[in-house]
């Protein structure tokens, strides 16, 4: 080796050394160390071989986390990329492009943590707190009006039955002439309308007749099932009289809770208070319940990242040759065909980079789930990142935590490799 080549080499080493040192200390060493820790016991004191990996792959918690991660990886990058493409193409057409894009990009400026806290409020189950349920309830209530006595139910021991749909039915059969008593409880005093009067059973007489009232007297003063002084009738309750399962008459109670259907005679009737009298107001969906929690969190993730995808894709859009699009237009291609057959193929590398970046990003999702999922549904919402955190820091099992880190690393690796190849290919071009 000539002296000159040696000098060259020395210079190269000199210039590379800082990078090698930094990458070695901050990247390579932690990876190797994690792998080493993953083969050791909870506190790192003993070698346990692959025991941590066995525990990881057999525990139902991690299995669920892996399944959730799979859902995330399939859904989130796809939706974000498609939305990003839509936004990019559509915002391209509007005036004030920059303002619109800025607005769409804005969520990126918010940390996952803050976004999680915000969405916790958006998804809150109580429509008075949760914005989403407030909207859902508003839409619902426009189509289905509220019932007069939500939450009312039968007095225990009265013999009345609540059937599946919430209607109240008398036991056995009722003959005309008798007075049917239908005591209800569970209604706050202020739910009784102002025009209601103290309950008065109807006088005996022909037809099917009865009384619906709020059978509650504070303390031990009242007798259940008996109309005590101060107990109010419930007006405007829809009463149905049935015979052999068929509704033969319908009426409403009066201000004192009485109802009378004078034209009916004989026996074999039963009286039903329609379910519509008692329907609880619609309260929206339990977004953060076990069933919807993962889609809900993915929704907030999409909100954050769609703007990013849009910006990157817009940049790609600028490099699509106008002439190709114009040529297609001249050849009679529709808007959709132009997008599908010309623009998207040109954008393919950009779309791939966006999607792969998101896949990697989604695999390590952690903070959004930790913050957004209520504690009680964290097992249902769990992802590998969260399991790793709990194993390492709440259970103090660094061995298991490291094993999960290694698994996560292995899962991210293909995406990384692909992206690195994509980038290299672009550079070569």
């Amino acid at each position: 080796m000539s002296a000159r080549a040696r000098t060259h080499r020395r210079t190269a080493v000199l210039f590379l050394a800082p990078t090698v040192l930094i990458v070695g200390a901050l990247v390579a060493y932690p990876i190797v160390f994690s792998f080493w820790m993953s083969l050791r016991s909870a506190d790192g004191s003993r070698f346990v071989g692959l025991a941590n990996y066995v525990e990881m792959l057999t525990s139902p918690g991690t299995r669920r986390a892996i399944a959730n991660n799979a859902v995330w990886v399939v859904v989130a990058p796809t939706v974000v990329t498609v939305l990003g493409l839509m936004f990019a193409v559509l915002t391209d057409r509007v005036r004030l492009v920059k303002a619109v894009r800025l607005a769409l990009f804005m969520p990126m400026a918010i940390s996952f943590l803050a976004a999680g806290v915000t969405f916790r409020l958006v998804y809150d189950e109580d429509p008075n707190r949760g914005a989403l349920n407030a909207a859902v309830v508003a839409v619902h209530d426009t189509f289905a009006p509220a019932s007069p006595y939500p939450g009312a139910t039968v007095r225990e021991g009265s013999g009345l039955r609540v059937v599946d749909d919430g209607a109240v039915v008398t036991p056995g059969t009722v003959a005309a002439g008798a007075v049917v008593r239908l005591p209800l409880v569970g209604l706050p005093a202020d739910a009784v309308p102002g025009h209601a009067g103290e309950a008065v059973p109807p006088a005996a007489g022909p037809g099917v007749r009865g009384l619906v009232w709020r059978d509650f007297t504070p303390g031990d003063a009242g007798t259940p099932g008996v109309v005590d002084p101060g107990e109010y009738g419930l007006p405007d309750v829809l009463v149905e009289v049935l015979r052999d399962g068929e509704v033969v008459a319908e009426t409403y109670t009066d201000a004192y809770g009485r109802f009378v259907v004078p034209e009916l005679a004989g026996g074999g009737y039963s009286v039903r208070l329609a379910a519509g009298n008692f329907t609880e107001p619609f309260r929206g969906l339990t977004w953060l319940g076990p069933g919807l929690v993962t889609p809900a969190i993915i929704g907030s993730y999409i909100w954050i990242w769609a703007g990013f995808a849009m910006v990157v894709i817009s940049a790609g859009l600028a490099s699509v040759p106008r002439s190709a699009v114009d040529a297609a237009r001249v050849d009679g291609a529709s808007e959709w065909q132009g997008l599908r057959l010309v623009t998207v193929p040109f954008l393919r590398p950009v779309l791939a980079v966006v999607a792969v970046t998101l896949v990697i990003n989604v695999l390590k999702i952690f903070d959004l789930v930790l913050v957004l999922a209520p504690e009680s549904v964290q097992p249902e919402a769990s992802v590998l990142g969260l399991e790793m955190y709990h194993a390492s820091f709440t259970q103090l099992n660094t061995g298991l935590g490291s094993a999960m880190a290694v698994l996560l690393f292995a899962l991210v690796l293909p995406g990384m490799a692909w992206r690195a190849r994509l980038l290299r290919r672009q550079e070569l071009r």
Partner: protein, 450 residues
Amino acid sequence: MSPRVRTGAALAVLAAMLMVTGCARGIAAGGNGGADGGGELAGRTIEVAGIWTGAEQRAFRTVLDAFERRTGATVRYTSGGDDLPALLNSRLAGGSPPDVALLGQPGVVAQLARRGALAELTGPAAEAVTANYPEFWVEHGSVDGALYGVYYKVADKSVIWYRPEAFAEAGVQRPRTWQELRRVTRALADAGVGTMAVPGADGWVLTDWFENIYLRLAGPERYDQLAAHEIPWTHPTVVESLELLDDYWSADRAIQDNPLQLTFVQAVADVFGPAPKSSMIYEGDFVAAEVNRLGTVAVGEGARFFEWPSIDGSPPAVVVAGDQAVAFNDGAHTMALIAFLASPEAAGIAAAQGGFLSANRNLDRSVYPDPVTRQLADRVMEADVLRFDLSDLTPQAFGGGTDASMWRLLQEFLAGGLEPADLAGRLEVAAQRDFAAAYEMAPPGAGDGR
């Protein structure tokens, strides 16, 4: 779990992140101390880590300020949020723990002490603790016979808070027995004024429910045995307690709908806020702080409490919890701060600001700002049967934090997915695993664990 209000994992993580980035500095600052004027510790910097944020942090700050004035030292408080143990572990792994930490879980303190991470209290600190604290609290501040912590702040976890207005509307009185509680609940349901809010989204609340029932049903001796896992969780008394719990929780209309989505903070608002949905909530004295924060009703008027009802004639018993100050080194500055936190003076400053109960027996209880707080303090100081929060005594993985087995399983139970006997079985499986893991982590020969 700690008696603190969990304001959500968000704050915890946020605080933890801030702390990790913000605190690596300043540890070395306690190097050479104070010839230059002021008090004996002038120029010293002491770092204290705790879970408190917001108003609680400000209240604690005034206590620290008093210490600074007295000694000339600088005390830096860093909030670790609810995941403080996780944070301390990473700080320990990095070799730079704070000087003092205030921890809510004795189980965590025991683990840290057995690992050798904590310094035994000595000198003025130890003297202050023994001079000012009843035997019960000294014992609970000790691990394997050595004193490690002082219970700076304590909590009474055996009270149920209620809305007097709702009770009046239903015409019911404060229940004294479990049967009466069930009758009252039924009457409240019939009156349509709302019943009991059970914030099942926060697992620690559910463990507190169980503990109060278990202490009354099985008695203090069994309670101690269960806390130490000397009797299995499949013991008949456990199953019986779970059956009572199940009876109450799953009774028709007995508790507010969808409890697993309900957090503690929301539940307090659902009882004492402007649009109440329920009339009662069980949790400790710190419910009062939350009620004050809401500002809709006044504690003592629109929000009152009754003691946890007696079961089968059990005598009054109080489940308590608390935050103990522990030392990570035995430096004079550290011990001086601990000694100050254990003094009646510090307790007085904190107590006067409200939202704080002290177990310091030399504290003049007239400093408490209102009769309700004084009454709660009296309960803690004068209880015949006093027991520490059971879940906090168990290893962290079992009872002491987010994702802990006991929290999770009780949530599943509340959701209606488990029979009492099955739950007991699964608790036992988890206990065997978690207790074994906790002791495995202690260095060999570090005691037999209680």
